[in-house]
Amino acid sequence: MTDAAARPVLEARGIVKVFGQHRALDNVDFAANAGEVHALLGENGAGKSTLIKILTGAYHPDAGELLLDGQPIHLRDPLHGQGYGIGTVYQEVNLLPNRSVSENLFLGRQPTRFGLVDRRRIDAQARDLLSRYGLDIDVRAELSEYSVAVQQIVAIARAVELSGKVLVLDEPTASLDRNEVQRLFEVVRGLKAKGLAIIFITHFLDQVFDLADRVTILRNGRKVATQRLDTLNTTDVVRMMLGKDVAFEHHPTALTGSTRGQVRVAFKGLNRKGLAPFDLAVHEGEVVGVAGLLGSGRTEVARLMFGVDGAEGGEILVDGRPVTIRNPAQAVAAGFGFCPEDRKLDGIFGDLSVRENIIIALQAKLGWFRALNREDQVELAGRYAEALDIRAANHDMPVKLLSGGNQQKVILARWLAIDPTFLILDEPTRGIDVGAHAEIVRTINRLREEGLALFVISSELDEVVAYSNRIVVMRDREMVAELAGPDIASDAIVQAIAGTPQEVRP
């Protein structure tokens, strides 16, 4: 099939979506053709999910229009979209775990006889329908008794039955194993052959190359490109996802002054189910950067280090002494700090004041019976707010009213207050306006110069390059490469992430 013959079924033109101050989507065009699988790629915060929500009717665009078969449409909600033929299957299956498979397929349109639901007919039709998807299961059993893969196929069957023009698959493979993925892909290929337009969202690049015909890549709310996949290789795709361009450089000037000190924290063979064992030592006054795509295991490593998820093996040494970290409280006691990826959900206490947010970790470390008095609290909050240049009208205002950058600095201040030995930062610049990025980067550099050991995860390659002494590259839940000194260059990182080993220096 050539592009010229392709007919766009669902088209989005010039879509803009603004949340508060933040432009989540900026003039994005997108078109899904009949009989193609169109992959949508981008890191967290790139605007993927916002675009999908607009395409399915969950959000309303602030500007731009949607066209279905060339006709403009205005979707009120996903149900309305479904009526137009746009069906969606989400990662977390949005079906009813407590009801039978057949009821999940027919809810809302059960055939009735004399006002009563005709169960026998539903079951027969459900069996019939699923057999077309190569599924031979007891349709009267509860949905929750089946694996996620089967549930996904049931969800697809329902979506196709109800919609039948466009099928949106939002990370359907995230919790499937290899065989299940293949089974799902066979189903999707069958639907593609029937002429459905399929929009496929995932962060597994190999799956994109396996299944999709075209790819649209988003970055920071803008469309980078829409291209046929047979003209691309993995390196191209990773480059488009992570870098504005490949011209950014490592700034060795920022690092020449830093002399690496003693080993502060050492992880030896730390592992957990779904994460390969890793060894890592972080020195005093050193930043170890982590690069890798979403789902490569970056966040899992951070959670393991901080004891959010318990390790299944390996040991942790702080200043040469072994410590046990089975929960975050022990991590704090060992002098660790952790700024998580989702600041709003896991980081700040939105309704508490700036001051309370700053002292909370220190207070937790001190325990219930050594409460900080108010003067101490005010003094501490003032000191760190000044040190980190936190801009708030006063320190008694709720932290949720601050900008993203200042919230991030409040969390940093919280950990600095406990006088940490080791700080873990997961995506410190996510969701912060671009202008404030530089400031966070500066702060990280300053903390390093003050002798702190830091472990920083980021999908912004130019930033990682700007502050890291060493960079660890993760792929498929494994640390696959470590780059240091002059090796730190965007190209080497992109290639290590894409997994083209012939080009990566060991």
């Binding site: 949005n94 009813l96 407590n98 809810l107 639901v117 008794e145």
Partner: protein, 319 residues
């Protein structure tokens, strides 16, 4: 066998075992006379518990049930004795008022996004208070219709009497079983209990269903009030104090998951019967304080909550 059947099976077995135990000690309990009284005495609780079953299946709770029963008995007494209406007209008015009351609570729960616990708690105070305002004292009902109803029954083999109120309860259960398991409305109730988000995405009319569920619960509480009125021939604002809690207990003992989504109306019937059995046993025994009923119900409730945890914690997976 589906997991949700297991608590129901357990309840049934416990009921049969308890009944057997009671009969071996008091053989007189094995008779249709006892059965007849059993159904009559628990009719109002059973009817209220049916409404509660729908509410709990959908993931909510209705604390106003006992107060609505009390209010209905007072309203009926006022309409018959003070306004001289025919009892059937009074029943129709009372049931309409109750259903509207429930619909308003359902609308508040859905549109104001307030937890059902709070809304129905407010409803409980309103209904109880309203009943006291209508009449703080008990009003006796003297009417030919009432005496006629109390005299009519179907004689069962063995001399047991199946009274009108007993028949009403059985009919309510029969209709409710069809409603829950064989209609779209029933499916929607279970869908809400499973996941409200998914249900909305799958096209379940969430607003309409929520309002209908609470209207149904209050309507059945009203019907329980009618039955209570026929049973006691009086209206009193403090009637049926705490019946909502007995109803919740019957629903949970009947195998319905308190968090919604799983359960059977038939289970509630056995739940009610089990509570009735304990009461009857205590009457037959004669030496036990009636408070033992509460203790047994408490123990049963606790057992069932533990049982449900065990059944639902680790579900078996098929491939």
């Amino acid at each position: 066998m589906t997991r949700s059947l297991r608590p129901l099976l357990a309840t049934t077995l416990i009921f049969l075992f308890a009944y057997l135990l009671a009969v071996t000690q008091h053989p007189a309990m094995f008779s249709t006379r006892v059965l007849g009284n059993f159904l009559t005495d628990n009719a109002f609780l059973g009817i209220a518990a049916v409404g509660m079953t729908f509410v709990i299946l959908s993931g909510g709770i209705d604390l106003s049930v006992g107060a609505v029963i009390g209010f209905t008995t007072v309203l009926i007494a006022v309409l018959i004795m003070w306004l001289s209406l025919h009892p059937l007209v009074a029943f129709a008015i009372a049931l309409t008022v109750a259903a509207c009351f429930g619909a308003v609570m359902g609308a508040a729960i859905h549109y104001l996004k307030v937890p059902s616990f709070i809304v129905t708690l407010a409803g409980m105070f309103l209904a109880r208070g309203g009943a006291s305002v209508l009449s703080p004292d008990s009003i006796g009902i003297q009417h030919a219709f009432y005496s006629g109803v109390s005299k009519s029954y179907i004689l069962m083999p063995g001399g047991g009497r199946l009274t009108v109120v007993g028949i009403i309860m059985l009919a309510v259960f029969a209709v409710a079983i069809l409603l829950a398991h064989r209609t779209r409305f029933g499916s929607n109730v279970y869908a809400l209990g499973g996941s409200e988000t998914s249900a909305a995405l799958m096209g379940v009319p969430v607003a309409r269903t929520t309002i209908a569920i609470y209207a149904l619960s209050s309507f059945l509480a009203g019907l329980a009030g009618v039955v209570f009125s026929l049973y006691t021939s009086a209206g009193y604002s403090l009637n049926a104090l705490g019946v909502e809690l007995d109803a919740i207990a019957a629903v949970v003992i009947g195998g319905t998951l308190l968090t919604g989504g799983y359960g059977f109306v038939a289970g509630t019937f056995i739940g009610v019967m089990l509570q009735g059995l304990v009461q009857t046993y205590i009457v037959f025994d004669g030496t036990l304080s009636s408070w033992w009923t509460k203790i047994v119900v408490g123990v049963l409730l606790f057992m069932f909550i533990v049982l449900q945890r065990l059944v639902f914690r680790a579900g078996p997976r098929r491939t």
